[in-house]
């Protein structure tokens, strides 16, 4: 039977807007960069020196920009400090606050470590290990904040969002680190390693994004509606063009083909830089599609 809503008062169609998208992107960059720096230091600090140093600074810089953006998004930003002493343990934003503070602190310690500061020299394992826990927390809490929201937002409540956000953080960090190193014109060996790692993560991300869309498309009528907004609705152009083609397929092709074709599996700085820029566009598109597209289905 035909039914049409002729009057309604939807409140906020999109309670979380562009500042939250930027926050998610930057917190992913911060968390992913710390883990990238820690991994490079653990595996072979001499061989991956540039990666370890660049990523350590990236983590700190990203936090430095990220936290004011998160505060600016509040409707009462002057009250942000109450998060520190009123925190409710059931709220993802409380965990996020502590993860961001912890990651900020460990990012500074990591930079001191990379500068060879004698005060922290003996604590490398603790700094990188504990810092990585906070970094993983920062990468994850954003997905949990969406995940815990409610079942009536089917894109947000899908469990695969957590690994998608973790992978997106790693991809962002590796692409940015790779871009900075490639701009220097040196470090082909490191670029090659970063490129093939990112290619693997991008393939994994492609599989997870397809799974997210398929599981929502085959769900309840409400779930199908939410998925359709992304696949053939308002978000379709950004999803197919920005995320799938520009952000995933082209970089996967560039990174794989160049590492297979070149001798010694080395990627040229130009290709690495191009792939990194495309990957960053793709990750931003992904964050926007999830945050904004996930809210587009009216609740009432």
């Amino acid at each position: 039977m035909n039914a049409i809503v002729t009057y309604n008062v939807p409140h906020m169609v999109e309670p979380w807007g562009m500042l939250i998208v930027v926050h998610f992107f930057l917190s992913g960059l911060a968390g992913g960069s710390f883990i990238t720096s820690a991994a490079a230091s653990f595996f072979n600090e001499e061989r991956y020196k540039k990666t370890a140093i660049v990523a350590s600074y990236l983590a700190f810089l990203a936090i430095l920009i990220d936290v004011p953006i998160l505060i600016a998004d509040l409707d009462r930003p002057e009250r942000f400090f109450t998060l520190l002493f009123r925190g409710s343990m059931t709220a993802p934003l409380t965990w996020g606050t502590w993860f961001l503070i912890g990651l900020g602190l460990f990012s500074v310690l990591n930079i001191m470590l990379k500068m060879g500061n004698p005060a922290v020299k003996g604590s490398k394992g603790i700094i990188l290990g504990l810092g990585s826990v906070f970094a993983l927390g920062v990468c994850t809490y954003t997905a949990v904040a969406l995940n815990i929201a409610t079942d009536v937002r089917p894109i947000w409540s899908n469990g695969i969002l957590i690994p998608i956000f973790i992978a997106a953080s790693g991809i962002t960090a590796i692409a940015t680190t790779s871009l900075i190193i490639s701009l220097g014109g040196e470090g082909k060996e490191e670029l090659s390693c970063l490129g093939s790692t990112n290619a693997g993560l991008l393939i994994l991300q492609l599989i997870m994004v397809i799974s997210l869309i398929l599981t929502t498309l085959t769900g309840t009528p409400m779930s199908r509606q939410a998925a359709t907004i992304i696949t053939s609705g308002d978000m379709a152009m950004l999803f197919w063009g920005g995320l799938i083609v520009v952000g995933l397929l082209i970089p996967i092709f560039l990174l794989w083909s160049s590492s297979m074709a070149k001798k010694e599996g080395r990627i040229s700085p130009g290709i690495a830089a191009l792939a990194s820029v495309l990957v960053l566009i793709g990750v931003f598109a992904l964050r926007y599609i999830i945050v904004s597209g996930g809210q587009m289905l009216p609740l009432t």
Binding site: M1, V5, S88, T94, A149, L299
Partner: protein, 223 residues
């Protein structure tokens, strides 16, 4: 005021008296007059463009077999409110009598509760810049009065009372009539019940129409 006055709750206050406030909305009696919205607005000084109580219209059928359905909406004051769990500063709290409220002095306006509420009951008040929603008129209820929307309902479609008291009007009404909650699958367990609810009316979404447009537009105007 007499105890048998239809506008009197019996003077029960929440704390320590094992009271659980609830509301029944009998859709067979609702005529979609928006009297509840207006009473709520005037009682609680709700700013222009935002609503603590509103009525959704859904037209069903094909001419000449068409019927307009009304769905009065408000905060459901859930037994397990998700908005309470996600509030990072404990600004959202639940009283012993079941009323879910917001402490304006603690809210930081992070909008976590707005994203968590499956019923779209919450909004940012453009004046206070904090989360806002229906309070079950606890300022009236604590003095023994019924909520403003209930008092103003000209069809007597709304019944408010103590769900824990088997002799209360609401409990007797619920015992006699089959009632439904909105979207029970969310597990929030609303304290607002509907009689005569057509699920397709609830499920039909969108159709953005309001006097002052969306809240975002209203906020822009306020700025």
């Amino acid at each position: 005021m007499k105890k048998n006055d239809e506008y009197y709750t019996g003077g029960k206050k929440g704390a320590g008296k094992n009271v659980r406030w609830g509301m029944v909305i009998d859709l067979r009696r609702c005529i979609g007059c928006h009297s509840c919205s207006i009473h709520c607005k005037t009682e609680n000084e709700v700013p222009v463009g935002v609503y603590r109580a509103w009525v959704k219209y859904v037209d069903k059928g094909t001419y000449p077999d068409v019927r307009r359905n009304f769905l009065p909406r408000l905060c459901n004051h859930c037994e397990h409110p998700m908005c309470y769990r996600v509030c990072p500063t404990k600004a959202t709290y639940k009283r012993d009598d079941g009323a879910v409220l917001i402490d304006n002095d603690k809210c930081i306006g992070c909008r976590s509760c707005i994203t968590a509420c499956p019923y779209d009951a919450r909004f940012i008040n453009p004046v206070t810049k904090t989360a806002d929603k229906c309070t079950f008129c606890v300022h009236r209820v604590d003095k023994g009065l019924i909520p403003s929307c209930v008092q103003g309902c000209i069809g007597r479609a709304r019944i408010f009372g103590d769900l824990n008291d088997p002799n209360s009007e609401i409990s007797r009404y619920l015992a006699k009539n089959p009632a439904k909650q909105l979207n029970p699958a969310t597990g929030n367990e609303p304290s607002v019940f509907y009689i005569g609810l057509d699920e397709s009316v609830e499920e039909e979404r969108g159709g953005v129409t309001s006097v002052a447009g969306t809240q975002r537009e209203a906020r822009k105007e306020a700025i």
